[in-house]
Amino acid sequence: MTAVELRGVTRVYDGGVTALDGVSLRVPRGAFLAVMGQSGSGKSTLLHCASGLDVPTSGSITIAGTEIAGLKESKRALVRREHVGFVFQSYNLVPSLSVEQNITLPLRLAGTSPDRAWLASLVARTGLSGMLGRAPAELSGGQRQRVSIVRALAARPAVVFADEPTGALDSRTAAGILDLFTELVDELGQTIVMVTHDPAAAARAHDTLVMSDGRIGEILSRATAGELAARLGRVWEGAGA
């Protein structure tokens, strides 16, 4: 089963900058993929295109079997709502809503009734019980990120895209979030694609994809943080040469 597949995806921005250059990639269900690369390597563009937030200039993208490359934003939004969850560095919680309202927001927007048992199990797993009535502003960074993770999973998406999910957190809190990701993948079979520049974070993933100049540089499996740091160092050297 394939969660996301990209074939020959190119994204050229206004002004001629090629952010993605013919990228092809298949993410199977249950995969935990880390995307690394220096700034400007195209890793964020990859995430935006693969998740349907942005449209590629050419190429094909399927999410859970649905081709989205040619769809309008309104159609893509429906696909995203059904199949994609998002976790951002800045949490992107709606400040006017309580924790519970934020978590159920995707379901309300989709007009489906929430699976109470599923949400309760997620809340219990993330340790958010007792905080459901609070406003996001009353939570710590780690707690906010947990809320956004529950929100991302609320609709049982085919894939969760995480953009630097630990970027704003201290190392201990970050480790907790990564533990949670690992748990979700291993125990629930959740597919996660995570963009990060932190080798320690990437080391928790099954596979790590290293982007360079808008292309996939290499793919490492089950690499340790030290190996990743070394590889990345090489890529940076290569880029600098």
């Binding site: 309104s74 939004a77 429906l78 995203r80 992107n92 709606v94 400040p95 006017s96 995707p106 927007l109």
Partner: protein, 806 residues
């Protein structure tokens, strides 16, 4: 610092444009008002007929008030014969003309010709005449233009209605060089006028110094008369023009309050939107070492530069508009055409100082919150919206609104006109309170909406309600502005129409009789027509006229006067019914008067008390209260006997004969109308239109500012829309949220605006009309609600669509 301010400003052009527009149109309004006010203060009519005379002597046209604007008198006192003689005897006086002006209506072809004035022959000041000068009671001369218009030549005879009677005159001559008018010989003119002179025109002997002569004349004339030379002569010759200038001052003064409040509000609102938009930058500036003061100065500098750019255009527009407005006032008959617009740099200076102060203060106040936060929380705060509004601010706001609502009950507690002033003040106060309490009110309102929103209303309405509450500070200015527009329009309209309607209804009820007679063409019903009606067997006749009385008072040892509308009631007063609550209306004669309930209340008066007054021409008189009445909208503060009034009655009512018979009787008096609406002339006020135009203009200004603010606020919602997008919201749903928000706060603004204007109007209705339903343009209420909804809708939905299209 200036460079930084400039760079920051460049990124916020949209919200600075809103500030620019607010200052631009605000400056137009303020400058116009200031120029008109100055025109009223400085603008004097140049002398007309007596431009050649060196010195003019006449009764004062104004009541002087220390440290306040003088009050124009409604009528002019005559100059005594003894003064004429004394002035003529002053050494250095070559010639004195005792001038009289008497409304005169020649009858040609059975019609009265309106608009002409008769004088004594010496006022013609010409020897150039075809035929000869009038010398006896039955003779008349005319200026050439009037003679041509009436088709009269020397030797012809014509009837003229003047001095309360109709008489036949033989035209003895046509004077080509005379000012427009009819000329009797001086004795006939004095007899028709019933007085010796309205003013004296004095020519100095060759070689005499005008200044010295004026001093000598003033000494000879004694206290009372005004002795004028140079430009001051205009006011003595034409006190009506000076009076209309005084009205202009009063009007500019009354409007300036509303204008300043609205303009200040809109400029502050535009600046607060601008400041809120750059809160992240300000926080960053603070983080890299800017002091709170510097942060505030940054914002103030942007506002000041914008204001300086807008002011020249606004001020120029204001001067141009003032010229147009002056012409319009003249065409409405509110301002004498002799008064020219006063041009000086003063209004520009006023506008510049006022706006720089307002902008500087508002900008600093708007930036105060962000600039004072600790640096760390300043950075954190800017990701979410501004913190909840200060509790003190909200408490003051709600307090003011509450107090205003209590004040609106005044018309119930205080009868009549006294309560009206309180209502006007209350609506201003409630608007200021609303501006302060706005964010808190919106937050609370949103909570209510969210709670009572039906489940099936859908996720977008639910989100909209939450957003309104959470982002209250962002849109509160705009919503308060919309509510202000509704309150301003509705209250202003009904505050005018309801008393007008009350006056009309009270006069209709208080002067109901089978026959009513008016004579606008004759400037009042002449005495012989009244006599003719009264002479009919079985007829009972009463006369009704309007005048003004001035109530003197002392304030901190300074002399003050308050003017009161009053009624002159003569003949068979039992025909009139002002709803006497105490005493007897029939006792109103000589110096015995009836006073309104309000006047009695304020003055602590009851029947039998004496009170000192000044009559319309400034004559002091002590009157005795013999009755108290309730219908003060129709009859004013006081009912006087004819001896204390001035001029002929505007309306005559009669009983004991029918309209057909009355018309037959009055065929001798062309120009009289039988059956015209009672007191209609009194109720029609030209300043109604001025108010309408000013309020309309201010409304447009408020709407413009609100739309600007909403557009700027919506343009800043990208992060919020992104968060919703990532939660799975489709563009259609985001638009639906924006639409629902617009409708919620459009409806909220309309509801709050109506809620604030309805209590005063209900109480006003009870106080003025005795029914809770005020009378006025009811269509205005749905129209204003529609305008407010449409403004909120388009100002939100259009920028939201642009935001989503990107």
């Amino acid at each position: 610092m200036r460079a930084i301010a400039f760079t920051m400003a460049r990124k916020r052009v949209a919200s600075l444009i809103a500030v620019f527009v607010a200052v631009l149109f605000g400056a137009v309004a303020v400058t116009t008002c200031a120029v008109l006010g100055e025109t009223g203060i400085r603008g004097t009519a140049p002398p007309g007929r007596f431009a050649d005379a060196d010195v003019l002597v006449g009764a004062p046209a104004e009541l002087e008030q220390v440290e306040d604007i003088d009050i124009p008198l409604a009528a002019r006192a005559p100059v005594d014969a003894s003064v004429i003689a004394a002035v003529a005897a002053v050494p250095g006086v070559e010639r004195v003309i005792a001038d009289l002006s008497v409304p005169a209506a020649p009858v040609t072809g059975g019609q009265a010709v309106p608009g002409l004035t008769g004088h004594g022959w010496s006022s013609a000041m010409t020897g150039e005449i075809t035929g000869r000068a009038p010398t006896g009671p039955g003779e008349l001369a005319l200026d050439a233009a009037t003679a041509a218009r009436l088709g009269l030549a020397p030797g012809a005879t014509t009837d003229v209605i003047a001095g309360g009677k109709r008489a036949s005159y033989t035209v003895t001559g046509v004077a080509a060089g005379a000012p427009e008018g009819l000329y009797w010989d001086d004795a006939t003119a004095a007899a028709l006028a019933g007085r010796a002179a309205d003013l004296l025109a004095v020519w100095a002997a060759p070689g005499a110094d005008t200044g010295d002569l004026a001093e000598a004349i003033a000494a000879a004339a004694g206290p009372g008369p005004v002795v004028a030379t140079g430009d001051d002569r205009g006011e003595v010759e034409n006190p009506a023009a000076a009076g209309s200038a005084g009205e202009l001052i009063a009007m500019a003064g009354a409007l300036s309050g509303t204008i300043l409040m609205v303009v200040g509000f809109m400029v502050a609102a535009a600046l607060s939107v601008h400041v809120a938009g750059q809160a992240p930058e300000l926080a960053l500036m603070r983080a890299v070492g800017a002091t709170p003061r510097q942060a505030r100065r940054l914002v103030a500098a942007q506002g000041t530069v914008t204001a300086l750019l807008a002011l020249p255009f606004g001020i120029a527009g204001g001067y141009a508009l003032a010229g147009v407005a002056r012409d319009w006032f003249v065409s409405l008959g509110m301002l004498s055409p002799e008064i020219a617009t006063a041009w000086s740099p003063l209004p520009a200076l006023i506008a510049i100082v006022l706006f720089l102060l307002t902008v500087g203060l508002s900008a600093r106040a708007a930036a105060f919150g962000v600039s004072r936060l600790p640096v760390t929380s300043a950075l954190a705060q800017t990701n979410t919206e501004p913190r909840p509004e200060g509790p003190v601010r909200s408490a003051i706001g709600f307090g003011l609104v509450g107090l205003a609502l209590v004040m609106t009950a005044a018309p119930v507690a205080m009868p009549g006109i006294a309560g009206l002033a309180a209502v006007g003040g209350a609506s201003l106060m409630s608007v200021i309170g609303l501006a302060l309490a706005g964010p808190a009110l919106m937050r609370k309102g949103a909570v209510l909406i969210a709670r009572f929103l039906p489940r099936r209303a859908g996720v977008t309405s639910w989100l909209a309600a939450h957003n309104i509450g959470a982002y209250a500070a962002r849109t509160a200015g705009a919503v308060t502005g919309l509510a202000l527009a509704v309150t301003l329009a509705v209250t202003n309209a009904f505050l005018q129409t309801t008393p007008d309607e009350a006056a009309r209804a009270e006069l209709a009820a208080g002067l109901s009789a089978p026959v009513s007679v008016t004579a606008p063409a004759l400037r009042g019903v002449p005495a012989y027509a009244v006599d003719a009606l009264a002479a009919e067997p079985g007829a009972r006749v009463a006369t009704f006229g309007s005048t003004t009385v001035y109530e003197p008072s002392e304030q901190d040892g300074k002399q003050r006067y308050e003017d009161h509308p009053a009624t002159v009631l003569g003949g068979d007063v039992a025909l009139a019914d002002p709803e006497v609550t105490d005493g007897d209306l029939a006792a109103v004669k000589d110096t015995s008067v009836a006073v309104s309930a309000s006047f009695a209340l304020w003055g602590g008066l009851s029947t039998g008390d004496e009170v000192g007054l000044l009559l319309a021409d400034g004559r002091p008189v002590t009157v005795t209260v013999v009755a108290v009445y309730a219908r003060e909208f129709g009859f004013g503060s006081m009912i006087l006997a004819p001896g204390l009034g001035s001029g002929p009655p505007s309306t005559v009512i009669a009983e004991g004969l029918d309209a057909a018979r009355a018309r037959e009787v009055l065929s001798i008096a062309p120009g009289t109308l039988v059956g015209g609406e009672v007191g209609a002339a009194a109720a029609e006020r030209p300043d109604k239109w001025v108010n309408l135009v000013v309020i309309g203009g201010l409304l447009g200004y408020v709407l413009l500012g609100v739309v600007n603010g909403l557009v700027a606020a919506t343009a800043r919602r990208r992060p919020e829309f992104d968060a919703l997008r990532h939660s799975g919201a489709t563009p259609r749903q985001l638009m639906a949220v924006a639409r629902a928000e617009a409708l919620f706060f459009g409806a909220g603004a309309a509801a709050v605006g109506l809620a604030l204007s309805l209590p005063p109007l209900l109480f006003l209705g009870v106080g003025a009309l005795g029914s809770p339903l005020p009378v006025g343009p009811y269509w205005l209420i749905p129209v204003m609600c529609g305008v407010v909804l449409a403004a909120a809708y388009f100002a939100t939905v259009v920028p939201a669509r642009r935001l989503l299209a990107r």
